[in-house]
């Protein structure tokens, strides 16, 4: 049996990715996570001195905290199995990546384990966030200097 024949058998038997179901679940749960976040923005605006411009930070921090707690309790992983991108894309997913790696590294101590493991998965997000911010700002500066666009 050659590779091509095998590929056929494998494709036939392997259950297909449930695209529609996955997308729907990601939409509903991802939307729900953002709606919960939105409730926190109202909470911080009404009860604290935050405006719509400044409320982003405390909201994100709160969501990160909740996700850290759920990660530690092992609940986040179970929700994520259903939600897929619905829990990976929100900032809670970033928190989950950092916290789960940190907990995992504990047996190697706080410096070699927790410290250096923490960004094992989230590190690429930080790299590409900072690098793309740099290049976008640079391109914008060049375009402004050339007079193509305004600030």
């Amino acid at each position: 049996m050659d590779q091509q024949q095998y590929q056929q058998i494998e494709d036939q038997i392997t259950p297909p990715t449930p695209y529609v179901k996955n997308v729907l679940k990601a939409f509903l749960i991802g939307g729900l996570v953002c709606t919960i976040g939105h409730a926190f923005t109202y909470f911080y605006i009404i009860f604290f001195n935050f405006t719509e411009t400044t409320v982003g930070n405390p909201t994100a921090a709160t969501m990160v905290f909740i996700a850290a707690l759920l990660t530690g309790l092992g609940i986040y992983r179970k929700i994520a199995q259903v939600a897929g991108a619905g829990t990976a894309v929100p900032v809670t997913g970033f928190s989950n990546a950092v916290v789960s790696a940190a907990i995992e590294g504990k047996t190697e101590g706080f410096v070699l384990g927790v410290g250096s493991n923490m960004f094992k998965m989230a590190g690429s997000v930080i790299l590409f966030g900072v690098a793309s911010a740099f290049f976008v700002a640079l391109i914008k500066l060049i375009l402004v200097t050339m007079g193509v666009v305004e600030w």
Binding site: L24, L28, Y42, I45, I46, N49, F50, T51, E52, T53, T54, V55, N57
Partner: protein
């Protein structure tokens, strides 16, 4: 689950469909000023509610744009700022579409103590300038 999804999408369509009246409230002793500022706000179709506070030489206008037009609320804010400034060249005007200012001005409408209102308006102006 499908029914729930459909419902979630239908309610907003329904809400957008029935356009409610604008509610604009003003805190001022001067009837003429009140009417003028109401008129200016009413001319902006994008706004569904607003509060205006006159205190000493200050005018604080806090408005809320219709949610589906929120994406351009910074432009709405700027446009209204210009229009209000034209009507009240002697006053120090601040127009904001921020919910925080709308919420706080709502509470100020019934506040009797002038001193307190003045302090609060100062505080809100400072808050509105913060960026992070």
């Amino acid at each position: 689950m499908k029914k729930m999804v459909v419902a979630i999408f239908l309610i907003p369509v329904f809400l957008i469909g029935c356009n409610q009246e604008q509610t604009i409230e003003v805190k001022d002793s001067n009837e003429e000023q009140s009417e003028t500022v109401k008129e200016v706000i009413r001319n902006s179709d994008e706004i569904y509610t607003g509060n205006a506070i006159f205190i000493e030489d200050q005018l604080l206008v806090a408005v809320q744009a219709k949610p589906w037009l929120d994406y351009k609320k910074r432009k709405i804010e700027k446009k209204l700022q210009k229009e209000v400034e034209e009507q009240f060249p002697d006053l120090e005007v601040l127009v904001s579409a921020d919910y925080k200012l709308y919420w706080e001005t709502q509470k100020l409408l019934d506040e009797g103590d002038e001193q307190k209102v003045s302090e609060e308006v100062e505080k809100l102006k400072k808050l509105a300038k913060e960026e992070t």
